[in-house]
Every structure is written in structure tokens, then in C-alpha cells.
Symmetry: C2
Subunit: 320 residues, 2 copies
């Protein structure tokens, strides 16, 4: 396991992922409280909000208020999500407080694009080109190329590694049209199809083709495979992950009510800490924040270490 | 990942693990219903009951009734758990219906033995010798040597690999005193200290010392690491696992209320199926049985695939 990284970067997505799926909108001050608590844990990248249509996502009708209200720490990137030019324009208003990173995100699955966005692969590329132009025109750097549904799709089935590589190449080509050189390739397991062997094959192929790019994994725990998939990533040297405190978030796809959301931040931090991989995060403080998230939502959340406890207290007691 | 086994053996422990921790005892006929449903899934090894003191474990006061009541399939081993000579004697009554396998189980952690069983390492060896003699006298074969708390202990902390090897050697020595040659080494993560790197180190060391013995893993999911630990086992070629349908069972140790129990059978079967490893189990049937377990206990259970669903229905739809 010599490829295990010494240090990894975690991008916390709990606030953004977690609050959008709640049926009863969470109070604005509670959202801000959770973000402020996350800022105290050692996390350096937090995706805090979604600038989306409040009619479609009522949980984020207060995105502006949350953006204005949270306390910004100088050494932390706070980022928004947007899905279209209107959302991007809203985000642009806050470019002093928020970190805006452009991304060229290619859908690996044409059937999904047709079904959910009414675009085929070619039209999707054109949309991404339009987005890239919009970022370029507004001085927003394109930091990454992403592949969505990289490991499989509920409508298309398995995604071959060759398609992942094609999508990555298409993404870089679009970025280059605007003179950008993204440093990162993001592979997203959007519909929780990944297994450790698929992670290793995909990461291996991308790393071989793009040895100088950072690979980033976005993992869902819908089928309980997320921590094993992260371990596969770590074994392949992947040093950048999205995750959500307490396992916040759920699967927005039909038929998955009750299924878990993103990989849980404290579980990932625990795994890394136990193997000597530095995350820069205070695990005890993070667990307290996960417990705060449970209190805010008023229900048990899927994180494991927040319920099972860490090992350090036993180590300390055993050493006495 | 060339060491991945082509086929693995799963020993289902859901009934035994799951029913003992319930505060309100589960009705005998419901226990029998779950065992009978498990017999229809393709599982070949099911640990169904505990012959323990009904005053200490009220959930198993009906162990005799359950044993008499379940339907025995000829090609399935149904086994009991016992913890002392009295429990063994109760189990012996049912040796036509139940499979009784003797085990020499060495505690890796002396502090745990002292605290929980009031024995030191030497006294524990003597107890195991007494048990082995009892098995021998009653014609019960000693099939395995086990190490409890193999990966760490809440009272002792980390367990070095050298101690695991010592415990295994002590176990084999005791078995040999009675002319027995156990074919299996069972490593139990009794208190959920294992991480994938610890699994690999321990399994690697045992396999190197005992290349002809089967290694078996008993994993707990208290800290969410069980599926990653099983994956580490698979990568090391381990082809024998305990697990519990729906993730039944909990952690009996203090301070872990709400923590998950054993590794979930259907999640493990899903992982294997997706990687082409044969378990002999019908995943859909197993998920239905997990859902039956939820109905019997009247609450949500920790399994993931039972809530997130399998991928095959999407594959079929995508192929149409």
C-alpha cells in the first residue's frame, strides 16, 4: 500500500447537500450555525450553498441570507454550487466572500443527459463550452474537468473506462479553447455505482493518461460502498475527496428514500487518521459538529464514527 | 487485485446476534420465520441461536423452542453459540439438528480477559484446554482456532501482529494436545478496531505462517469500516466471513448505543456480486429477508443495499 498519500484534501459538502433535501426547510440561522461550526474543525474547503431555483429547491430559497450571514475565515474557501447562468450570476455577486471555481463537467451517460437535461452528448458539450465562455468572460478560473456518473448510470448501466477517458479529454479540450489548464480531474459517482475495483480501474486509467493532474473523487454511500471506494482511491494515491459531515444529504433519485447520501466526512477522517494520513481536521471537533447537524435536523444521521466513537479515548485509557 | 477469491463462504449470524440485544424479546415464531427465510436465500451456514443464561440474556430464553421449531434444510449447517460447559451441554442435545463445531478461541487482550472474564492469559489457555477436552470427550471436532479482539481492544489498545501470531500458535498447540488439526484461523474484530491496513498486515502475517489454513474474518461495523475491511480481506484472498442480514446486532460495549453491529450480509454479497465473486446467495431474496427482519423488529436496520437497491434492475432496464 505504498501509494497511500501522506495528506489529503477534503471538500466538505454537508451544508449544501444536506439542507436541499429536507422536506421542511431548515431555519437560516441554523444553517449558518452549522457552517460556522464547520469552520472551526480544520476544514479548508466548504461548499456551503446552492444558488438554484427556489421554486424547485425550496430548501435553498435563503441562499443569499446564508451567504451574507456566515462568518468567513481567511484561510478557508467557501464555495457555492450553481447549475445554470442564472445561478452563476447570483454567485458572482458574492465573489469577495465566496470562492468561485469554474468546472467543465461532462456527463458520461448520454441516456441520463437526454432524460434529465434534454440534451445529447453533443449538445452537452456545447453547453459546457457556453459555461466555460461565461466563466472566462467573468474572470472565473476553470480549475477542474469533471465526469458525472463516471462509474455507472441508472439509465445507461455500466460506463466503460474508455468513455471516462473520452469525457475527460473533451473537458480538457473545451477548457483549452479558453486558454485554461485545469489542474484537477473530478470523477463523480453520481448514482452510486462504484465499487473498489471500478474505482481502481478508472483512477488508474486517468492517472496513466494524465499523470500531472490531481484526481478528485465524489462518492455516494447509497449502497454502503463509499468508505471502501475511498479506501480504493487512497490506495491509488488519490488525495482529494468530497464528503459530507454526518453523512448529510440523500440520494435525489427515485426509489432511494432512506438511502444514505455522500460519504461521511468524519468516517473518512477517522479512516485516514487511523492510517496516519493527514487531513488537517480535528476529528473530535468534527464529531461534535456532526452531532450539531443531528440536533439541527432533529433526527439520526447516517455517520458511523459519530455514533460508534473514536479509538483515541481507549488508547489513552489503555496507556494509563 | 489478483488475489481476489473466485468464491467465498458466508456464515450468517443475524438471528443469533440480532435477537439477543433487543430490549423487548422477539416472539419465538418470528425468530423461526426469519431463520426459515434465510434458508431460502442460498446461505449454507447460519448461526441461529445462543445457549446462554436466560437471566443474563432474556432474548435467548427460548433457544430450545427455536431449535425445535425451525425447518432444517439438508444442505445447510445450522449452528448454535455457547459460552460455557452448560451451554455446550444444552447444544449437545440437538446434535442431530444442529452442527456443533468446536473452536479454540484465544483472547488477544489480557486486560479484556481480566476485566470481563476474571482470567489472565494463562488461565484463559487453561479454560480453552478444558473446553477442547470437553469437545473431544463428546466427539465434537475442533474446526478452528480463533483470536478475539485481534485488531485492538478498548482496554488494551492496539494488538501487535506478533501477539496475534502468538495467540494462533497457542490455539493450535491446544488443539494438537487432543489430536485435532483445525483447518481455519478466525480473526475477530470484536471491538471494531480494524482498518484495511491492519486487516492486511494481520492476514498477511497469519497467511505467511500458516499457508495451508483458511482465514476467516468476523467484522463489526461500529465505526463504519466493515465493508472496507472486508474488501481488504478479499484483496488478501480471504474467502470466509461472518455477517448479519440487514446489519442485525449491535455493539454490546458501553457507550455504543446506536452504533451498527456486524457487517451486513447483503452489502457484502452486493460487493462480491459486483466484482464477480461467487457467494452462492440470491441477493434479491436476501434483501427481502432483510426487509422481513425490519418488519419483525419494527424499526429501520443499518443495511445499505436493502435501502439503496441493487444495480441489476437498472442494468436490465438499460439493456432494453
Amino acid at each position: 500500500m505504498s501509494d497511500l498519500p501522506k495528506k489529503i484534501m477534503i471538500c466538505e459538502e454537508g451544508p449544501r447537500e444536506g439542507f436541499q433535501i429536507e422536506k421542511v426547510p431548515v431555519a437560516t440561522d441554523k444553517k449558518i450555525k452549522l457552517i460556522d461550526a464547520l469552520s472551526e474543525t480544520g476544514l479548508k474547503h466548504i461548499q456551503i450553498i446552492s444558488f438554484v431555483n427556489p421554486k424547485r429547491v425550496p430548501g435553498w430559497a435563503d441562499a443569499d441570507e446564508v451567504t451574507k450571514g456566515f462568518k468567513k475565515y481567511a484561510d478557508i474557501d467557501y464555495s457555492p454550487l450553481w447549475l445554470n447562468p442564472k445561478g452563476f450570476e447570483r454567485a458572482l455577486q458574492y465573489k469577495k466572500k465566496l470562492t468561485l471555481n469554474g468546472k467543465v463537467a461532462i456527463g458520461a451517460s448520454e441516456k441520463f443527459l437526454i432524460r434529465n437535461q434534454n440534451t445529447d452528448l453533443e449538445q452537452n458539450l456545447q453547453r459546457q463550452r457556453d459555461s466555460a465562455r461565461m466563466y472566462n468572460d467573468n474572470g472565473v478560473p476553470i480549475k477542474s474537468v469533471g465526469v458525472n456518473s463516471a462509474f455507472g448510470c441508472n439509465y445507461q448501466g455500466e460506463i466503460p473506462v474508455s468513455r471516462i477517458l473520452e469525457a475527460v479529454a473533451q473537458g480538457f479540450a473545451i477548457a483549452e479553447e479558453f486558454g485554461e489548464k485545469p489542474h484537477q480531474v473530478r470523477l463523480s459517482d453520481t448514482m452510486a455505482w462504484a465499487t473498489p475495483d471500478r474505482i481502481k480501474r478508472a483512477v488508474g486509467a486517468v492517472r496513466e493518461r494524465y499523470p500531472d493532474k490531481q484526481i478528485h473523487l465524489h462518492l455516494h454511500d447509497t449502497r454502503g460502498m463509499a468508505i471502501a471506494n475511498a479506501m480504493a482511491g487512497l490506495e491509488m494515491g488519490v488525495d482529494s475527496y468530497d464528503s459530507a459531515v454526518a453523512g448529510l444529504g440523500g440520494c435525489p433519485f427515485a426509489g432511494h428514500a432512506g438511502a444514505a447520501g455522500n460519504i461521511c466526512t468524519e468516517d473518512l477522517v477517522f479512516l485516514c487518521a487511523e492510517m496516519g494520513i493527514d487531513t488537517g481536521i480535528d476529528l473530535d471537533q468534527l464529531i461534535e459538529t456532526a452531532q450539531l447537524a443531528e440536533r439541527i435536523l432533529g433526527r439520526s444521521l447516517p455517520g458511523s464514527v459519530m455514533h460508534g466513537g473514536t479509538l483515541d479515548r481507549f488508547r489513552k485509557a489503555a496507556a494509563e
